[in-house]
């Protein structure tokens, strides 16, 4: 197999600035999204993710102009999420320059939205983002509204259903690990990836480039997403590629 594992820097955006929180709170400013996108594109990011983390919470739409400015600067796929509530929102994001849309809260409130978006734009255009918190051994619960609302839904079952309904990819974020930097939740990733055929993107917990390979080897992820380690200059994409390659994982030579 020659498909390479993707390394995806994630831009968490609030009020038009890149921020990064710890366990979905305590935000630190990390710069302008368009500048960051250009920086990562130049470093050979395999893909970029732009999440408007305040959108769903404050019930406002994604900042389309920030998306447009960000898309302007990168020639690598851009996934945008945050505040996507319907098919029209996805259309608007694609028109602004996004290649894929990520949905989270809206998919939980109305899972048929997954089928409708996928049917209209194709599964490859839709990432279903699942924010999950561990509630017991091998048990995780789905949270919505930027991690503020528990849903009572089992995260593994929800992810499997989302894939069946037409999600092209699953972005799995461990809320317990988010920004804590002690590694991805490998149990959560493995529980989901072994039950679905679609790519799983690991998110939440990368504290160093050494945390990336286990997400692939033990968690079964096809892509690794990280924010803090890249934004604050602790690691470069080249170091991330080297760490994966040293673990025997195919990466794209840049």
């Amino acid at each position: 197999m020659s498909l390479t594992v993707r390394i995806i820097p994630c831009l968490d955006v609030k009020d038009g600035r890149v921020v990064k929180g710890v366990q979905f709170g305590a935000l630190r400013d990390a710069g302008d999204p368009a500048e960051q996108a250009a920086f990562y594109d130049a470093q050979g990011a395999d893909e970029l993710c732009f999440l408007d983390i305040s959108a769903s919470l404050e019930r406002r739409g994604t900042l389309l102009d920030a998306v447009a400015r960000t898309a302007e600067r990168c020639f690598t796929p851009l996934t945008v999420g945050g505040g996507v509530r319907n098919v029209e929102d996805v259309q608007a994001l694609l028109r602004a320059g996004a290649d894929k849309a990520a949905i989270n809260t809206a998919a939980v409130l109305d899972p048929t939205l997954i089928a409708r978006i996928s049917g209209r734009f194709g599964a490859q255009c839709l990432v279903v983002a699942v924010d999950a918190k561990q509630t017991g051994p091998q048990k995780w619960e789905v949270f919505t509204h930027g991690g503020h609302k528990p849903t009572g839904l089992d995260a593994v079952a929800f992810a499997v259903d989302a894939a069946k309904l037409g999600a092209g990819e699953l972005l799995i974020t461990s809320m317990d690990r988010d920004g804590v930097k002690n590694g991805y939740d490998l149990g959560l990733l493995a529980a989901i990836s072994r039950q679905v055929a679609v790519p799983v993107i690991a998110s939440g917990g990368a504290g160093s480039v050494q945390d990336l390979a286990p997400a692939v080897l033990e968690g079964g992820a096809s892509a690794v997403l990280a924010a803090s380690i890249f934004h604050f200059g602790e690691a470069t994409l080249a170091q991330a590629r080297t760490a994966l390659a040293q673990a025997g994982i195919p990466v794209r030579p840049v």
């Binding site: 197999m1 020639f75 679609v198 790519p199």
Partner: protein, 212 residues
């Protein structure tokens, strides 16, 4: 000024392709006008035709036919006049004779083959991410025989049974499939050059230079 028609039939992210073409034109100091268009008059006169595509085969074909005179204009430009034509992703798949995504649908049939699901296997489907495109036949847009480059893929269907002579490059994911097809002034790529950074921009630059 080179007139490039980026065909708008309601499918996919056209802005990415537009930006990439403008960047290529600027880098090469070429004077290019890229228009996202469904205007048959512009298409008929365009120097280069690019057919992007995202989504399901049948819906894309229907969207293409739904716009008055658009399919006829693209046919006139690419087939009667021989303007260089690039199909991207589903835009490539439409070159097949038929597509088997959500039922059986007739394609443009300009190159042939059948668009069918990528085989399941160890690799996830959709096939999503950077994979190696290996040329099996030299082509001006792709480079010499044996050349290879990593390009960005995002698809669940592939063209199979394309005429042997039209297969220009292959890629492996659960199976070895055709990632580039071409004949005469037509070329189709399964990946997204507009999202494939330097390698993709270089391919687009060669397409702009191509004079079949």
């Amino acid at each position: 000024m080179m007139q490039i028609a980026l065909i708008d039939y309601g499918s996919g992210n056209l802005r990415s392709a537009e930006r990439a073409l403008l960047a290529v034109g600027a880098l090469a100091s070429k004077r290019v006008n890229v228009r996202i268009t469904d205007d048959p008059d512009f298409v008929r006169r365009a120097d280069k035709i690019i057919l992007p595509g995202q989504g399901a085969f049948g819906e894309c074909m229907a969207g293409f036919h739904a716009r008055d005179g658009l399919c006829a204009a693209v046919t006139e430009a690419a087939i009667s006049r021989g303007a260089p034509f690039l199909g991207i992703c589903v835009g490539m798949q439409l070159l097949a004779t038929r597509g088997e995504e959500n039922g059986s649908h007739q394609g443009l049939g300009w190159i042939g083959g059948v668009c069918r699901p990528l085989l399941p296997g160890a690799g996830p489907v959709p096939h999503m991410g950077w994979n190696l495109v290996q040329s099996t036949s030299a082509h001006p847009v792709l480079g010499p025989l044996g050349a290879s480059a990593y390009m960005y893929f995002a698809h669940s269907y592939v063209i199979s049974e394309a005429p042997e002579a039209a297969i220009i490059a292959q890629t492996t994911h659960n199976e070895r499939f055709t990632s580039v097809i071409a004949r005469d002034n037509l070329i189709g790529v399964q990946f997204h050059p507009e999202k494939s950074q330097a390698a993709g921009l270089a391919l687009l630059a060669r397409f702009l230079d191509w004079q079949p």
